[in-house]
């Protein structure tokens, strides 16, 4: 059994209440940090822990915190990015739904380290019921004195607010999130300046993922060095993986970074193998925007080494033969899956979610979707594959925010590894079953 630090208590009844959470060792990190530590010491522990951003980019959290500008007389903010919208990712929802106090505890401890008197939890619109749960937990925390003025009798005061978004994928991009939080249209800002210098209302701001903030709790409790012992190399600690697709046991799993992908898919502790005894065809390892990999490349790297669930191992070989850990949205597909159909679903999503600010993404995402629709309708030509490739290359890296890349990478990877499927459809040797979409459209109409 792997070690669990974040959701080890999720089976306990009523763990979402402060009473039960406290009885199982909750809020110990706040006590430890506020009473025994200086803010810089907390930041140092996070640095030592090697914790990397769990939202997808994997940027070292301690380094992000140390970039925070600290001018005199200007408030600083901590913003929790709970706008979990990446298709295939649902770990933050699980954490907030089951153990909301873990997030709030992390918010208080992190805010103490950053010197933030106010923090915000930005929850995506579709998670409205989750916002209720978190709000109830915040109310409990205020009543018990964990939030508010002079927490634990120290001179540290902190207020935490929940803000529900309108349900836009783009608001998961940190600067779009800040715009949305300020009450504006959720368009990504042009960087620099980065939020660490000018974020929310122009003040220095740190934006962290739910899981990242929750991970600060065990780091402070057990010490950064101890935390860094879990994992392999620069991928330390535990990670929540949202496993979905054609596996026997879909769900949220907490893994120690460093287990093999094969273990994760086939062991009974985690996914429990592919359902109905089918063979694995492909895996999207970190949420819909990371490149898809065929079985032979996801289980073993190009060099023949077993692939591990770590940031480094998954991205081994670059995008030619590798992928990314991303946000941990692990989607497994069995042998019957049509990659083209799957790609159409992804492309349709990115087309729908593009904010429309910069031209390559605004126009390109829709174009790619329309071409992929041709494959589904059976009207595509072989030249359409090259056209798709050209379009994605003209979007990638040319946009304001990473949504352009998120839309381009899946297309590039699908063509790179499964070009034969596109060709077969274009040559009318195969057709894609789209009855599913007709049904969906009927429901929507």
């Amino acid at each position: 059994m792997g070690r669990k630090l974040l959701i080890h208590n999720d089976h306990i009844p009523n763990i979402h209440t402060l009473e039960v959470y406290r009885a199982h060792g909750g809020y110990a990190s706040v006590e430890k940090a506020l009473k025994k530590m200086q803010p810089d010491q907390v930041t140092d522990e996070v640095k030592k822990s090697g914790l990397r951003g769990r939202g997808g980019a994997g940027f070292p959290t301690g380094m992000k915190w140390s970039f925070l500008a600290k001018p005199e007389g200007v408030p600083r903010y901590l913003v929790c990015n709970a706008d979990e919208s990446e298709p295939g990712t649902f770990k933050d929802r699980y954490l907030m739904e089951k153990i909301p106090h873990a997030l709030i505890e992390g918010m208080i401890t992190s805010s103490f380290a950053l010197g933030a008197k106010t923090s915000y939890i930005y929850i995506r619109g579709e998670y409205f019921y989750v916002a209720r749960i978190v709000e109830a937990a915040i109310a409990e925390a205020y009543a018990a004195g964990w939030l508010g003025k002079n927490i634990l009798g120290t001179d540290f005061s902190h207020d935490c607010y929940v803000q529900v978004g309108g349900g836009a994928y783009i608001c998961g991009e940190e600067t779009a999130l800040l715009e949305s939080l300020e009450g504006k249209r959720g368009n990504p800002r042009i960087k620099p300046p980065f939020p660490a210098v000018a974020g929310l209302w122009g003040c220095p701001t740190v934006v962290n993922n739910v899981e990242t903030i929750a991970a600060v709790v065990p780091i402070v409790n057990m010490g950064g060095e101890e935390y860094a012992k879990i994992g392999v190399g620069k991928s330390t600690g535990t990670k929540l993986i949202s496993a979905s697709g054609h596996i026997n046991k879909p769900g949220v799993y907490e893994i120690e970074l460093g287990i093999t992908v094969e273990d994760f898919i086939y062991s009974d502790e985690y996914c429990g193998g592919i359902r109905n005894g089918k063979k694995l065809k492909a895996v999207v390892a970190g949420g819909s925007s990371v490149p898809i990999l065929p079985t032979e490349l996801i289980l073993k790297t190009a060099k023949g080494e077993p692939r591990l669930m770590t940031y480094e191992s998954l991205s081994d070989g670059g995008f030619l033969t590798g992928t990314m850990l991303g946000s941990g949205g692990f989607i497994a597909m069995d042998e019957d899956t049509s990659i083209v159909k799957n790609l159409f679903t992804f492309s349709r999503f990115y087309h729908h979610e593009s904010c429309g600010q910069c031209s390559p993404c605004r126009e390109g995402t829709g174009w790619m979707e329309k071409i992929l629709k041709k494959f589904l309708d059976g009207t595509a030509n072989e030249s359409d594959v090259d056209l798709l490739w050209d379009i994605q290359s003209k979007i990638e890296g040319k946009t304001i925010c990473p949504l352009g890349e998120a839309a381009a990478w899946p297309v590039a990877a699908a063509i790179r590894h499964f070009k034969h499927e596109f060709i077969e459809i274009a040559q009318k040797k195969k057709f894609v079953d789209i009855s599913h979409y007709d049904r969906l459209n009927k429901i929507r109409a």
Binding site: I190, S354, C355, G356, Q357, C358, S359, P360, E363
Partner: protein, 327 residues
């Protein structure tokens, strides 16, 4: 700060953007722009036509920037090396951007008032492909009535956000903005509203395409049949420095004076723009200097005829047969 653009070094003050530095060097290395407007704060960064490659970040940190950057929003660092027209990737990427911009554009230049002074036409001419690879129906919008002076034709819009910035920065109350998202995004007044403001006419000048046009000039004349003349008047609301577009003794249209980059030097008020359409309203300063490559300088018919004769002479000398006389 020293910055090198396409192999040409220039000394610029701190805070200068790559685009501004390139414009200081000259039009040969200046990247084209569609959304940047120097007199509008926070404009730029959206259209991505001005992207350049930074091959050396600075003297202190010489690593190249991994992705192409928007030159209009990237400030120079000391020792920065930038590649624009000499970098194939940049030109290829720009071609892609032009393709994206033209993809849903109706290409109705023959009936568009902007034709002849349209940034998108120029951009397409210089960087675009001859044909389109887009085979799907183009995006269409309902026309929205936004008042008696300005015509909004969303089909032609390329979402440069300039008109939004004008409303934000020149007028006291912005009533239009961007609605919806992705390729459904449109400039609109939410719940039909009239844009009525003393400076609102400037949205016409900043619009790089024919999405916002002057209703008082609509279909009166092609711009290259009119003659631009610089004129001024005593105006309390604005500087009164304008450009009159004349046909004979008739003032067909009044606009702001635009510089080499097609940007208004000084914004003018609606009274000057829409109400003063008589020569007697103005003090004429003299004819405008028009770039001889501009289509607007082609309004001298005699000159055109001469040119035609010259070309025919040349063709004859080369043994070239005109199309209509080929066997």
């Amino acid at each position: 700060m020293k910055v090198t653009i396409d192999g040409i070094e220039i000394d610029v003050p701190k805070g200068t953007t790559i685009l501004q530095a390139a414009r200081m060097i000259g039009a040969e290395v200046a990247p084209p722009t569609m959304c940047y407007y120097s007199s509008l704060k926070t404009s730029g960064g959206y259209c991505r036509t001005c992207i350049v490659k930074v091959t050396q970040g600075s003297t202190a940190n010489p690593t190249p920037m991994p992705k192409p950057v928007a030159s209009c929003r990237t400030e120079v660092m000391d020792g920065m090396v930038v590649e624009n027209t000499i970098n194939k990737d940049v030109l290829e990427a720009r071609k892609g951007v032009v393709e994206f911009l033209l993809m849903n554009h109706p290409l109705d230049c023959p009936v568009c008032d902007q034709a002849g002074e349209c940034s998108l036409q120029d951009l397409g001419y210089e960087h675009g492909a001859a044909t389109t690879r887009y085979e799907f129906p183009r995006r269409e919008f309902e026309r929205i009535d936004i008042g008696k002076y300005v015509q909004l034709h969303m089909n032609r819009c390329i979402m440069c956000f300039r008109c939004v910035k004008v409303a934000e920065q020149l007028t006291d109350n912005r009533v239009h903005g961007v609605m919806h998202r992705g390729d459904a995004a449109e400039i609109s007044t939410y719940i039909e509203n009239v844009i009525e403001n003393e400076m609102s006419g400037n949205v016409i000048d900043v619009c790089p395409v024919g999405a916002l046009t002057d209703k008082t000039f609509r279909f009166k004349s092609r711009v290259w049949f009119t003659k631009p003349v610089d004129a001024s008047c005593d105006c309390k609301k604005c500087s009164g420095k304008v450009r009159l577009w004349m046909k004979g003794e008739e003032v067909l249209r009044v606009t702001a004076r635009k510089d080499q980059w097609g940007e208004a030097e000084e914004f003018i008020c609606n009274t000057c723009r829409f109400e003063k359409k008589k020569v007697s309203d103005w003090k004429i300063e003299g004819p405008t200097q028009v770039n001889r490559h501009s289509v607007i300088s082609q309004n001298h018919y005699n000159h055109l005829n001469e040119l035609k004769v010259q070309v025919m002479k040349q063709q004859k000398a080369l043994g070239f047969m005109p199309i209509d006389k080929r066997p």
